[in-house]
């Protein structure tokens, strides 16, 4: 570094210096980064075990320098349950998209939450199936065009987008539910704080922690990254409002 310069920002060492397969503008890389910042800042590389889903983030283990398992489509919550029950002192998280968590894996999601499994769900909700090429997800917005809803999602035949945070916060054994986004720097900071809080609650053994990240998909939304931020603000967030849906009392967490 040149004299007189001070480094104020860097990639965390726990995020491997690899070229990611994610599309330009996609939030996955941002969310990977904030998780790995926490791992580095807290010095918990030996304590964290992650579970990858099937979806765009199926290769997350290529980038995150921690022990990880790859789950079958929709089964990440069951896999995370198996890990956490065997290694209760570790911090376990599942990283899942909307198809994985809220369609094919709904039963595993609900029942892991209902048992109060002490791991953290990191739920990436971008309202579309990214990896398979832009099909309708359970969280696709009303009227939103996808390759399997080419005329726009029709609620009369496909229902309304499922609100997972609202749904799981009804379950008694769930400790903490917050919906965040990474559409602005401020929101990204809030997202990081939410994941930190979830890990803290997990370490206290208070119950299931569930962080929903309202995310984007410029490639399959057929727009620029910048336009995808507009879509989140104008269309997604009014239906999927950000905020805390459930949390333990402050004195329980600290």
């Amino acid at each position: 570094m040149k004299p007189g310069y001070e480094q104020i920002y860097k990639r965390p060492e726990t995020l491997l210096p690899k070229r990611m397969h994610y599309c330009p503008g996609c939030f996955h890389s941002t969310i990977h980064k904030i998780i790995m910042e926490i791992v580095e800042e807290w010095d918990i590389q030996d304590k964290v075990i992650g579970v990858c889903p099937v979806g765009c983030s199926v290769f997350a283990y290529d980038y995150l320098d921690i022990d990880m398992q790859e789950a079958a489509h929709g089964r990440a919550a069951a896999v995370a349950t198996g890990i956490k029950r065997m290694l209760p002192d570790k911090i376990v998280f599942s990283y899942q998209g909307d198809g994985d968590l809220a369609a094919i894996g709904t039963a595993e999601t609900i029942h892991a939450c209902n048992r109060g499994e002490n791991f953290t769900f990191i739920f990436i909700n971008n309202g579309i199936y990214g990896m398979t090429g832009g099909q309708m997800a359970p969280t696709t917005l009303e009227g939103q065009k996808t390759t399997t809803s080419p005329y726009g999602r029709e609620p009369a035949t496909t229902g309304m987008p499922i609100k997972m945070s609202e749904l799981v916060s009804q379950l008694i054994s769930v400790a903490y539910v917050e919906r965040v986004s990474c559409n602005t720097p401020a929101n990204t900071r809030k997202a990081k704080r939410a994941i930190e809080k979830a890990f803290k609650i997990q370490m206290k053994g208070l119950g299931t922690t569930f962080i929903e990240v309202v995310s984007n998909c410029p490639s399959n939304w057929k727009c620029t990254p910048e336009e995808s931020l507009e879509w989140i603000k104008e269309k997604a967030l009014p239906y999927f409002p950000l905020g805390v849906f459930k949390e333990p009392a402050k004195e329980e967490v600290e």
């Binding site: 290769f59 022990d67 398992q69 790859e70 089964r75 069951a78 198996g82």
Partner: protein, 352 residues
């Protein structure tokens, strides 16, 4: 301490797993297997294992995946429809090379079928079951005692080969009570440097996956698995021979059917028919060579595969005999257990 008890097969299975060092059990109730879950739930406070009654067999098998990949000694048990549901997970487990134990307390199918004992899941157990090229080591116990012994063996083989191992039992063996000698408990200490237990500075991160998107790499994984299956086939074939000296008619039977067939052999011998029994104990790897050698004996006239299904193992018997002698089949389906008399009458009327 080893002790003798009078126990139901399913309960003995659970007790054997506890004594073999079980650390995690994930299951879902289904007849005629539910006593395993119930027994383990009852005994849980006295031991250190974790038990979860999962929301489905899909969840159960994936809990097994996660826990096995975390390095623990884990098991699930089910019956036929439940075993079908587990196949996706077993395929992932086989490819990721995770040691764990399954037991299928088979009931008659297809479909929802019946709750009576059957051997109609032989194909599913021995030919793979899920998608892709793989095998499980498959043990076919024929008594409550052997159920217990096979659980110990299954855990041992699972660790030795980093492979899923299964017991192909049935509703009768699971439900009947017999005298059983329970072996000494094992103090299990896992030695699994590949497990996801948290990355420490002295090693690279451990990744458990069955995803190898480049065809060349996926082929390498397949070749590695095939190499392992070859080694298992060379080293782990187990079988039992009964009254095969001077034999002319050889019954081939496994599991419950082998006990009925023993009676058939005894009755045949009493009436002067030179009959014997060959019982595969490992259903995969199948005892191909010993059967091939028997087929080469001049005095042997034919083989009769007796099964509680419409004719499944008979295909492996035919492959082993390889045209040297005729191979016949007798079986009952849908949960019917054949009697010794009907088997011997069938043989007398059709084959002698």
């Amino acid at each position: 301490m080893a002790e003798t008890r009078f126990m139901k097969g399913n309960e003995a299975l659970g007790e054997a797993a506890i004594r073999a060092g079980l650390q995690g059990y994930f299951g879902y109730p289904i007849t005629p297997q539910s006593e395993v879950v119930e027994y383990l739930a009852l005994q849980e406070p006295n031991h250190n294992y974790v038990l979860i009654q999962a929301e489905s067999e899909l969840a159960a098998v994936n809990m097994v995946y996660g826990a096995a990949a975390a390095g623990a000694r884990v098991m699930t048990t089910t019956s036929s429809p439940g075993f079908s549901l587990m196949q996706e997970g077993i395929s992932y487990i086989a490819c990721s090379e995770l040691p764990c134990v399954f037991a299928n307390i088979v009931r008659g199918g297809p479909g929802l079928g019946t709750i009576q004992p059957s051997q109609s899941d032989y194909f599913q157990a021995t030919k793979g079951g899920g998608h892709g090229d793989y095998h499980l080591i498959v043990l076919g116990p024929n008594s409550v005692q052997e159920t217990v012994d096979h659980i110990y063996l299954a855990f041992e083989l699972a660790d030795k080969y980093r492979s899923p191992v299964m017991l192909l039992s049935d509703g009768a063996i699971g439900q009947m009570m017999e005298k059983v000698v329970l072996p000494d408990p094992i103090e299990y200490k896992p030695d699994k440097p590949w497990a996801t237990t948290g990355k420490t500075p002295d090693r690279e991160r451990n990744i458990i996956t069955s995803l190898f998107i480049q065809a060349e790499i996926m082929e390498q994984r397949n070749l590695k698995l095939q190499e392992k299956f070859k080694k298992i086939t060379e080293n782990e074939v187990r079988y039992e021979e009964y009254k095969l000296d001077d034999v002319e008619y050889i019954i081939v039977s496994f599991g419950l059917c082998s006990r009925i067939s023993k009676k058939v052999v005894d009755q045949a011998r009493e009436s002067g028919i030179k009959m014997g029994l060959f019982r595969p104990i490992t259903l995969w790897p199948f005892p191909t060579k010993p059967i091939e050698e028997l087929a080469s004996i001049n005095s042997v006239k034919c083989f009769i595969s007796v099964e509680m299904n419409a004719g499944q193992m008979v295909e492996d018997v035919k492959l082993s005999v390889n045209g040297k002698k005729p191979v016949y089949f007798y079986g009952r389906t849908g949960g019917i257990v054949p009697t010794p008399d009907e088997i011997i009458n069938h043989i007398k009327e059709n084959l002698l």
